[in-house]
Subunit: 336 residues, 2 copies
């Protein structure tokens, strides 16, 4: 089965300097991958190098670029020929199975929602991503598609995540927890408490409240929260990880002796990094849309960007969208 | 000036096994520290060792212990002779300048609020703590005293934090940011947007929205958020740090070669740890009460617990409470 992905080549902090080598890496890994490279044709051609004659690569012209700080409304109204918009159009037209963009999240969500619409039975989209643990990972949503969510919407997020984990990881009854500020029943806001009641009454494998430390250390397969808390948790962990790396680097480069220790530690640090490398978890799915859209981190490097492409490829191969469509088509309230 | 602290010896996951050596460490560091050790007299005596004849130590009997998972209401109603309650009573009676407890946060907050009452002009208490950065630190609140907060309350938190940083660090115009899910003005919930308007109109040094990664990597001196987001951010970072330490340890102990690298890295890892050790940041202040109460992490070890004592000592020496009282006495709305 060939998987055709529309890739927004101009998005992200570094645009083509990251997306072009990212594409090259992804194409090396998968022979059944076909990529529609969306953006300024001349710029793309000049960076493609040995890919220019590759039959698995096709360039689709798009003259405009959505700025990383452009408002969603402006991007939607006045950038109808942006690489982001054209890539999403290709999904809507059925020419691509999914699209990938490192462009600005708000604009991507607004444009994707406008062009693709919601899945029937789903009221609000959510951003979901896998996050690393010592020996596994967790799927967490919403990472920032919404700033607040009703109990009913939180349940819908949970149901969508269950469909996704079933589809991608073939786990039939993934465990699911609600992010709260304490694990006791009495803790939390009224919205969380009412959401907990809905989760308990549903047929999913709800295990109860989880706390922030359960993201990276817990057992639960899926964590549901509103987009504000999810975004704060995600960015806090990014900042902490970067700060720790910075301090560690400073300490290892302090003098000759510490540099020797660093040299001897290379295999250790390399396998440490391989296990917790956030780049291997790059690629968040905009869940709940009538089409598959994967958001790469704006600051991703080419290795990380190739992983976002991998997330899109996996979603298509495992028929994520068809699964969601089937699970949510039954009812207007989205109950599976 | 002698600083007298009431210490809840029974609180925390390990009670006296941590608090007794923590007290010993704190007393070694400060000759002007006087501690009222609150808890079961016979248990305390048996663990005091060489401190038993120390004139800076006094035991205050309290027969009961608040369980780490007891509800605030139960602790308040039925544990009137708990070590936590008696320690807070000592502050209310003026026998201690401040109290320190590693007991359960909800019970501590409820009991302290009931016994000490709010500072005149302050509507809601907040939990504030310093968090480490590579070369500095940030003060963040609310870390979980409330699950949600109005814009007016968020402003009050900001004003209290400014008073605290002025008092403790002698910085006259600390910079202050509001935690949000994006740095643009259009981002965030209505509450955050309205809070931003209040911050802009106030006289404090408000610099705008900050995001989760600004906690450990940013520049701002104070970050204000509601207790839900703050608690999630704090616990997420705790979990991530613990996970990274676990993976690092596993990698360094994998075989003889990696153990050698670990041995040679000891000075590096030690100074790395010294710079980012969360134990040095243990001790959160329950801000806004008419008395100084410091909360130690329930899982703190004796080193961390001694730091919570240090936080209380510093608050007293720098006249934090008098400063807050002066700054908030002017008006019912808490405007300074």
């Amino acid at each position: 089965m060939t998987v055709t992905l529309a890739v927004d080549m101009m998005g992200g902090d570094k645009g083509l300097a990251v997306t072009a080598p990212g594409i090259r890496r992804a194409l090396q890994n998968y022979s059944n991958l076909h990529c529609l490279l969306v953006g300024r044709q001349t710029d793309i051609v000049s960076l493609l190098g040995d890919l220019s004659g590759n039959p698995n690569v096709e360039i689709v012209q798009a003259a405009e670029v959505v700025d990383m700080h452009e408002s969603p409304a402006t991007a939607l109204r006045s950038k109808k020929n942006s690489s982001m918009r054209v890539a999403i159009n290709l999904v809507a037209e059925g020419r691509a199975d999914a699209c990938v963009s490192a462009g600005n999240t708000g604009a991507l969500m607004a444009t994707a929602r406008f062009v693709l619409r919601m899945l029937p039975g789903v009221d609000r989209p959510a951003i979901i991503s896998a996050l690393p643990r010592a020996d596994s990972h967790v799927h967490m949503l919403d990472l920032g598609a919404n700033v607040d969510s009703s109990p009913e919407i939180l349940l819908q997020f949970g149901l969508m995540a269950v469909s996704m984990v079933r589809s991608l990881e073939h786990v039939q009854q993934p465990t699911i927890g609600l992010l709260n500020v304490g694990s006791e029943d009495i803790k939390g806001s009224e919205i969380i408490k009412r959401a907990a009641d809905l989760f308990k009454a549903s047929e999913i494998n709800y295990v109860g409240y989880v706390e922030g430390d359960d993201i990276f250390q817990g057992e639960v397969d899926i964590i549901v929260c509103d987009g504000f808390a999810g975004n704060v948790a995600l960015k806090t962990s990014e900042g902490l990880a970067q700060m720790l790396v910075k301090v560690m680097r400073e300490e290892y480069t302090r003098n000759l002796w510490t540099r020797l220790a660093a040299f001897l530690s290379i295999p250790v640090l390399r396998s440490f990094r391989a296990r917790v490398d956030h780049r291997r978890y790059n690629g968040a799915v905009l869940l709940g849309l009538n089409g598959t859209v994967v958001k790469s981190h704006g600051g991703a490097d080419s290795f990380a960007f190739s992983h976002a492409i991998e997330v899109a490829r996996e979603a298509v191969e495992n028929k994520l969208l068809q699964r969601l469509r089937a699970d949510f088509s039954g009812s207007e309230t989205g109950k599976v």
